[in-house]
């Protein structure tokens, strides 16, 4: 009764040796539109770049040199520096399929701590700044721990910690603003990122330069280090990443901590921009950074998109903000337009995705 499996199955599988070796290929002629779709698909940050260029050109034609000058264009950079830096943190978190609602709160809390440590406690500025970074890292750790270990949804974790960090900020600072002039005298290092380089009409603050370097550095890390590949893998499919050898929890934690540190850095840059330390800043930074990320084409489901796209997304919003203000429309029209922009950007993105490679 014992039949050898091998011989049994061979009776129909033996013919396989003759089977066709062709690789099935379904290529067909592509229409012009499909070619565009394909190009955009392979370079996801191209869409926001094109939108950015188009909007600069349109505003430039309409407004002339009031808009189309080195000064005005670098002004936009200055205006988006904070959102760009926080957006970098937000991008990392969204790439691992998370979301960070507490970014603004971490930023302000860190900047307040830096200010208080330097001005009221009287620590040397570098130490005060380090402590500020420590606060950012701690906030990030709390978020990361709750997401990775307790396995709570990131939206809820950061919704909760947003309120907690913000309340801490107000209670700790007693709502007191530290004046620019006082900081200038006692701890000018805090205002470091407000310094600027002038090149012709262009004004590049150190904050702007820091933002660009940060984004480039992160783009490098995401594409060329193992950590970066792991970030994408975790965002793509966390279970698959875990099984194929990624330390998922650690990767998630590292991303939230890094995001916290970047937010603290944004807090420092914020002091440079405002001159002063103001606990009421940054109330909408979370929405603004998410908007930049979304317009920049990073998928809210994680694992897809480029951090450069986020930068372009932030700049698009900046261009519209300044352009529409110079045109002189009611600020409400700007909000409405940004609303349309968000939906439009994602609709285009969705259309491109449909081009299956």
């Amino acid at each position: 009764m014992s039949t050898s499996g091998a011989s049994r199955s061979d009776d129909y599988e033996s013919v396989l040796s003759g089977s066709s070796k062709d690789v099935a290929s379904f290529e067909r002629k592509r229409s012009w539109l499909e070619n565009v779709q394909h190009l955009l698909h392979s370079h996801p940050s191209l869409v926001p770049l094109i939108v950015l260029a188009a909007s600069i050109i349109i505003f430039g034609l309409y407004l002339g040199s009031r808009f189309m000058s080195a000064f005005a264009l670098t002004l936009i950079l200055q205006q988006v520096a904070i959102v760009g830096i926080v957006g970098a943190a937000q991008s990392l978190v969204i790439l691992i399929a998370g979301i960070e609602l507490s970014v603004g709160a971490i930023m302000v809390l860190s900047s307040v701590v830096m200010g208080q440590m330097a001005m009221n406690v009287g620590l040397p500025a570098p130490v005060a700044i380090l402590i500020g970074f420590g606060v950012g890292a701690l906030c990030g750790t709390i978020n990361g721990f709750l997401v990775a270990w307790v396995k709570l949804p990131p939206f809820i974790v950061t919704l909760g910690t947003w309120q907690i960090f913000l309340a801490t900020n107000f209670l700790y600072s007693a709502n007191e603003t530290i004046r620019s002039q006082a900081i200038e005298q006692e701890a000018p290092l805090l205002q470091f990122f407000g310094e600027s380089i002038h090149l012709g009409g262009a004004v590049l603050t150190f904050g702007v330069i820091a933002m660009v370097l940060l984004v480039l550095g992160l783009a490098y890390a995401l594409n060329n280090t193992a950590w970066g590949r792991h970030v994408y893998a975790v965002g793509d499919d966390a279970d698959a990443a875990e099984l194929s050898g990624v330390q998922v929890k650690r990767t998630i934690l590292s991303v939230y901590i890094l995001a916290g540190v970047i937010c603290a850095f944004a807090g420092w840059v914020l002091i440079g921009r405002l001159g002063s330390v103001s606990p009421t800043s940054g109330q909408f930074t979370n929405i603004e950074s998410i908007t930049a990320v979304v317009i920049g084409g990073i998928s809210l489901f994680g694992g897809r998109g480029s951090i450069l796209g986020m930068l372009f997304g932030a700049l698009i919003v900046g261009v519209f903000n300044l352009g529409l203000r110079i045109v002189g429309t009611d600020p409400q029209w700007t909000y409405m337009l940004i609303g349309f922009l968000i939906i439009g950007a994602v609709a285009v993105d969705q259309w491109i995705r449909r081009a299956s490679a």
Binding site: R179, Q181, G275, T280, R325, G328
Partner: protein, 317 residues
């Protein structure tokens, strides 16, 4: 019952102005042995939270409520409920609409506050006022009442037709070259100033809704080296603001007295709780004016002002 309870309902609890107001009330309350409960909206204009706050005060059995209304019209019904329940309701800082909806109002006249800095700016510029280029850095797109009063007060003080006195930004005078919103903080002040400069680099007068916005605007001007060519005026008179006048950041500011409002308010509630007396209004006005002073180191003719050292003595925060 045991202790008299008073409530303080502010627009927000993040703006230093209201924080100081709360401190003033707290101090006075301790002094008089009154229990103070404080409430606040989340942002300026958050009417719903204030409605809740009033209800909670009624439930808590308070004797009186001090409120800085976020929406001066919309809150009236709730205030009426509180008064019907036998509470003394005093509007602080911002009068209700209509004013007599509250038992009393201890306020700065925000319109006058705006007017003072408008007059000062006009006098300061002299003949140049005809060619002034003015940026109006307002509070928020929702245009809450203070925002409207100060903005329109400034314009009328400067001699500009406000058209509809209830609406910001409908002026036709070509001297107003820019309107933008600041959310009343440094961040918004800086951004709005940058935007306005881009719109018209020749701006030489900047009205700001409050001193944090003024500080932000100053940073923007400083970054393009225009800080000394532009006149910044503001409203509030907080200590950092007065210091900024001393440092030449702000030209003039209208100083208000939130601590005074609050402590007077608490006193009134204490008196009411004791024997039912209600406060009297300032003569000739339908509210108790806690006064407003123009603080500047460069006084001009025809506009009364106090100098920085006096301003510092009386500043809050």
């Amino acid at each position: 019952q045991d202790k008299t309870t008073a409530c303080l309902v502010t627009k927000t609890d993040t703006n230093p102005f209201f924080v100081k107001m709360k401190e003033g009330a707290q101090q006075k309350a301790e002094e008089l042995g009154i229990e103070l409960q404080s409430y606040a909206g989340r942002i300026d204009g958050d009417n719903q939270s204030q409605v809740q706050a009033i209800e909670s005060c009624i439930a808590a059995g308070a004797s009186g409520i001090l409120i800085t209304p976020s929406d001066t019209k919309a809150i009236v019904d709730s205030v009426q409920k509180a008064r019907d329940a036998g509470l003394l309701v005093i509007a602080l800082d911002t009068p209700l609409d209509p004013v007599d909806a509250a038992d009393a109002t201890f306020a700065t006249d925000n319109f006058v506050a705006g007017q003072l800095i408008g007059q000062w700016a006009k006098a300061k510029l002299g003949d140049e006022a005809e060619n002034a280029k003015i940026a109006m850095l307002d509070l928020s797109e929702a245009q809450p009442t203070v925002d409207v009063l100060r903005d329109q007060g400034f314009l009328s003080g400067f001699g500009i037709d406000t058209v509809n006195e209830n609406v910001i930004g409908d002026e036709e005078d070509s001297r107003v070259v820019c309107n933008d919103v600041t959310d009343g903080n440094e961040e918004g002040g800086r951004r709005a100033m940058e935007n306005c400069l881009q719109k018209d680099p020749g701006i030489n007068v900047v009205y700001t809704i409050n001193e944090p916005a003024a500080a932000g605007a100053y940073e923007a001007l400083k970054s393009v080296g225009k800080e000394s060519d532009v006149l910044i005026v503001s409203v509030d008179g907080g200590c950092p603001g007065v210091k900024n006048i001393e440092d030449g950041v702000i030209g003039a500011t209208s100083q208000q007295y939130p601590l005074l409002m609050a402590s007077k308010g608490i006193e009134a509630i204490a008196a009411y709780a004791k024997d039912g007396t209600k406060p009297e209004t300032t003569e000739g006005k339908n509210f108790t004016d806690t006064g407003v002073n123009l603080v500047t180191n460069e006084p001009v003719d025809g506009v009364e002002s106090i100098d920085v050292s006096e301003g510092t003595d009386r500043c809050w925060g």
